[in-house]
């Protein structure tokens, strides 16, 4: 799968949860995810600035990782053929309909894997019961 940088505009410290939720959604589908929190670049031994952060995002994404980051300098995100870039605002991600549509678009574009389950476990129990009643499956 091609790498991806999701650049989230305006996410300050208070918006870090948005990054984490999006990261959990994608990693739950089996995607390789790196969420860039405030001090991520320093932890990598690089000077903390938005340009350095963007370069680090690009390096990871060019190896197939889905990188979710805020506060980057877009000039450091030259995608070329190496990875895709999607931009979204913190406010947009807080709107559940927009968020689902954004994730769906990533999925249809082949940038993130589809959900691991096509049927929720609770619904699966109901379906199994119905399949038994209809005669498709033997009673337990």
């Amino acid at each position: 799968m091609k790498g991806l940088v999701i650049w989230i505009r305006t996410a300050g410290d208070s918006g870090e949860a948005v990054l984490d939720e999006l990261g959990a959604e994608i990693s739950g589908r089996g995607g390789r995810v790196e969420v860039f929190h405030g001090h991520a670049v320093e932890n990598l031994g690089m000077e903390e600035n938005s340009r350095a952060k963007a370069v680090a995002c690009a390096m990871l994404a060019s190896h197939g990782v889905v990188v979710i980051a805020s506060g980057v300098d877009p000039s450091g995100l030259e995608t070329g053929e190496r990875f895709a870039l999607r931009e979204v605002s913190e406010q947009q991600l807080l709107d559940i309909t927009y968020r689902n549509s954004f994730i769906r678009d990533l999925e249809l574009s082949g940038l993130i894997p589809p959900p691991a389950l096509d049927v929720h476990p609770d619904e699966e129990k109901e379906i199994l019961k119905r399949l038994r009643e209809m005669g498709y499956l033997d009673e337990d």
Partner: protein, 397 residues
């Protein structure tokens, strides 16, 4: 593990029970658009995920991309338009308006948020998707009955199990997927049919069963053209043959609620993609699949699959020849496996079979099992609609 749905995720925009009542209650005061029989079938299949990744009737970017390039605007392969036509008497709707979707009796079957109303060149659509503009072609005749304006937008659908035909055979894609997993099937072959089962079909299905875990018999019960054998008769034939001739643990039968479009090769791809959403890894494509008259070449519906990347398709087409009983081989065969002249083959033209059944003459057991022939003879004796019961033409359509 079962194959992934087309586009990666199974769409679920279907509501039933209390949720459906709420949906319908929320449409009070909304204007309504009337669905014809095909659109009603399509709404059901968008809602239950059979048409994943589609979430509504097509807007112009998807429509043009599918007609011209056989891909949705977002990328996935898709071979036929799925559209809602504006009709005489419908209100003039505007983008952003929520409308109820009703049948000709006024019953609500879902809703749509109108995204676009657009004009379409229906002659162009006919030429590109059906390969002809001949009004004698049932698909062209259908298009000629439309206004030329389509209304696109995301839909939600209502399911009412109690009023459905074949209620014991109605399985949505997520239900077939749960069924396949419960039976431990990873690879499943689907057999599409709008004909009763003769020995030739049985042979092809069983050949396919040798290489997969299970068979999904998926008779089409949506709208067909006048003269096609009624779904009730076809279902009775299948129920009968399943009793004694198939291992019950390796076969499941469910109905496929799509309308026939008679689009030949493009419809073969459409049928395959939808079966992928039901969880099938393989799809049987006979000669002249979804054909009508002589509009398509015998192998067109098989060859079209060669023009796609297997990963784009995500379901394996199994291409079969007409099968027959060969007296020299003493068994079922096709031209691929039999070395003998046609004089040794038991193969009857559809016209002859129809005449035999009408006259109460049993076709040879090498062509049709007697249990099936009896059902077809009984149906052929009915006054209207069933007069062609028993055609052996177009296996795997």
């Amino acid at each position: 593990m079962l194959v992934a749905p087309h586009g990666g995720r199974l769409v679920d925009r279907q509501f039933e029970g209390l949720e459906a009542e709420e949906l319908i209650g929320g449409l009070r005061g909304c204007r309504s658009l009337t669905l014809n029989a095909r659109e009603r079938n399509d709404l059901e299949m968008i809602g239950n995920g059979a048409m994943s990744p589609m979430e509504g009737f097509m807007c112009s970017p998807d429509y043009h991309s599918v007609v011209d390039l056989m891909h949705l605007a977002s990328g996935p392969l898709w071979s036929l338009p799925v559209v809602l036509s504006a009709k005489d008497g419908d209100p003039e709707v505007s983008p952003g308006e929520k409308v109820a979707l009703v049948d000709t009796s006024g019953d609500i079957w879902g809703d749509m948020v109108v995204e676009e109303v657009f004009h379409a060149d229906l002659d162009m659509e006919a030429e590109k998707t059906l390969g002809t503009q001949d009004p004698a072609h049932p698909g062209v005749a259908y298009l000629r009955s439309l206004s030329g304006h389509y209304i696109g937008g995301p839909v939600r659908s209502v399911r009412r199990r109690r009023t459905e035909s074949f209620p014991n055979y109605r399985l949505d894609p997520k239900e077939t997927r749960v069924l396949f997993r419960a039976r431990g099937w990873n690879s499943v072959v689907a057999f599409q049919t709008r004909n009763p089962i003769h020995r030739a079909h049985e042979y092809i299905q069983k050949c396919a069963m040798e290489i997969v875990d299970g068979l999904l018999l998926h008779p089409l019960v949506g709208e067909t053209q006048e003269g096609d054998i009624p779904a009730e008769v076809r279902m009775r034939c299948y129920e009968e043959i399943l009793k004694d001739y198939y291992p019950s643990t390796r076969v499941a039968m469910s109905v496929f609620p799509a309308a026939m479009r008679y689009a030949g090769p493009r419809e073969a791809v459409f049928h395959a993609l939808l079966r992928k959403n039901y969880g099938c890894s393989h799809f049987i494509v006979g000669r002249d699949h979804a054909g009508v008259g002589s509009y398509y070449g015998t192998y067109d519906a098989q060859m079209i699959f060669d023009s796609f990347d297997p990963d784009q398709l995500g379901i394996v087409p199994l291409k079969f020849e007409h099968a027959f009983y060969c007296r020299k081989c003493d068994g079922m065969a096709t031209s691929k496996t039999c070395a003998h002249d046609s004089e040794h083959h038991v193969f009857l033209a559809g016209k002859k079979v129809r005449a035999m059944l009408r006259e109460g003459v049993m076709p040879p057991p090498e062509f049709t099992r007697p249990e099936i022939a009896r059902i077809l003879m009984e149906a052929a004796a009915q006054p209207a609609g069933n007069s062609n019961a028993g055609t052996g033409e177009g296996e795997g359509r």
